[in-house]
């Protein structure tokens, strides 16, 4: 029994759901297959940062365009996704860190963007009154913020279904074959045929690409998070460390989320990952050094989930280099959440027009 569609999307994280949604809204029939449940992996477990701040240069135009969509996310998916414009700020602890931020500020200005501003000690401690006084400066993006990853992914999923996407969970793609300009994809619940394939497979996106004859050095990772019990409000923007791993935010309910990229151990066969507490000791020290008040914070939960990275820490976005009618968007290297809205728009452009206005050359799969 084979089903047919105009487009088959593999992967039900935010990239897949956003792509399926926006392609369907261009009038195409879309089937999405997700081997577990939507948002089960990276999209459901990340820190929820919605930022342009400190992105690699090639990502900046995409992040800027995506941020415009975030600021009206309810129009896109019918849900506010818990998006808060809290600002994001990178904090320098010493002269070397400050020099890094100054160079970055100059680079971003030279590219024509105004969203990242240097702040000196006075304004730094106005923005972050609980910050340790050894810190020397910061780089702030005032209209960046954060959202709720699971709610957001579920909102994209819901909107995709409402737009007519046939969204199949617990459905794993097991084989890819192209003949007479049609993809025939075997899945755990039957074959699906479509002229166009979109690979949003996340940590398994490399395996999908390999099935198309494209090898990509995709490395599964398991970034870890800690969350505390509720605390009195003491910090507003998301705080990013410079020179040490830290991403730190206080949620509206008072809990504090601590991430930053310390890695646990992923298991892509079993769809699970484990937390490495030795690294969390380092994370705890970083947090307490920057925010002494946090020494009293109680960690009530830790978690990790499966993401994946590429050696240059930017994703693959664009057409397949070996096959007609196939497009990739994976390998977001632990910062794909904010790009979800724009990636869906880019995929919809590529699928319907064969091209997109945004510069995606730096993300071509053939760079490997």
């Amino acid at each position: 029994m084979s089903a047919t569609a105009d487009v088959l999307v593999v992967g039900g994280g935010i990239q897949g759901c956003s792509s399926a949604l926006q392609i369907a809204r261009r009038g195409l029939k879309v089937i999405l297959v997700e081997k577990n449940t939507a948002g089960r992996h990276a999209s459901g477990v990340n820190a929820g940062g919605v930022r342009r701040l400190l992105r690699a240069a090639p990502e900046i135009p995409l992040a800027v365009a995506s941020m415009r969509m975030w600021h009206d996310i309810a129009a896109l998916v019918g849900d506010d996704c818990g998006f808060r414009v809290s600002g994001q700020i990178a904090v320098a602890e010493d002269a070397a860190g400050l020099a890094t931020l100054e160079a970055r500020a100059a680079e971003v200005r030279a590219l024509g963007y105004e969203h990242e501003e240097l702040v000196g000690r006075n304004e730094l401690f106005e923005i972050l009154p609980a910050l340790s006084r050894h810190c020397v400066g910061g780089l702030v993006a005032r209209d960046d913020g954060f959202a709720s990853p699971y709610h957001t992914t579920m909102a994209f999923r819901r909107a995709a279904i409402a737009a007519g996407v046939d969204l199949r969970e617990e459905c794993r793609a097991t084989g890819f074959c192209r003949a007479a300009s049609i993809w025939r994809v075997e899945t755990s619940s039957g074959a699906i045929e479509a002229p166009i394939l979109v690979n949003c497979g996340g940590a398994w996106g490399g395996a999908v690409a390999a099935a198309l004859g494209e090898t990509v050095p995709l490395e599964p990772t398991a970034p870890m998070m800690m969350v505390t019990s509720r605390m009195p409000e003491f910090v507003t923007p998301v705080v990013i460390g410079v020179g040490r791993k830290l991403s730190f935010k206080q949620m509206p309910n008072g809990t504090v989320l601590i991430g930053g990229g310390h890695r646990g151990v992923p298991d892509t066969e079993r769809d699970s990952s484990s937390v490495d507490f030795r690294k969390l000791i380092t994370s705890a020290r970083t947090v307490s050094d920057l925010f002494p008040i946090m020494r009293e914070a109680q960690i009530v939960r830790t978690w990790s989930g499966i993401e994946s990275r590429l050696p240059d820490d930017v994703p693959v976005i664009g057409p397949s280099s070996t096959e007609e009618g196939a497009y990739h968007a994976f390998g977001f290297s632990s910062h794909g959440f904010q790009l979800g809205p724009i990636v869906g728009a880019i995929m919809a452009d590529l699928v319907t027009l064969g091209r997109t206005e945004l510069p995606i050359e730096a993300f071509r799969i053939s760079r490997f």
């Binding site: 019990s229 509720r230 309910n253 008072g254 009293e296 109680q298």
Partner: protein
């Protein structure tokens, strides 16, 4: 609500609860001492500001959270009373929990 079967069986201690002195006996947990003194509720919840008292008395339910000697989120049923302890109620999200 509760009375001692055998008052004075264990040495007496005192603790301060919200500014008033409460008698306890050696070996009491803070939760037992408060209940013995007629204190029925220990905190208000962060979500709905509802009064809660101890439920399980064995460290599972986390409903008996109080502030002890300035440290919030202590399970009153898991802390043994020491003479002179200062115990305060926790109020919703305003304090902690």
């Amino acid at each position: 609500m509760f009375q001692r079967i055998d008052p004075g069986a264990a040495p007496g201690l005192r603790l301060d609860f919200e500014g008033r002195t409460i008698s306890a006996e050696a070996g009491d947990t803070v939760a037992a001492a408060l209940l013995a003194a007629g204190v029925g509720w220990f905190r208000e919840t962060p979500v709905g500001n509802r009064a809660r008292g101890p439920y399980c008395m064995m460290g599972v339910c986390f409903d008996c959270l109080v502030e002890i000697d300035g440290v919030p989120n202590r399970q009153a049923c898991m802390v043994t009373v020491a003479d002179g302890m200062r115990v305060r109620r926790q109020h919703g999200a305003r304090d902690s929990a």
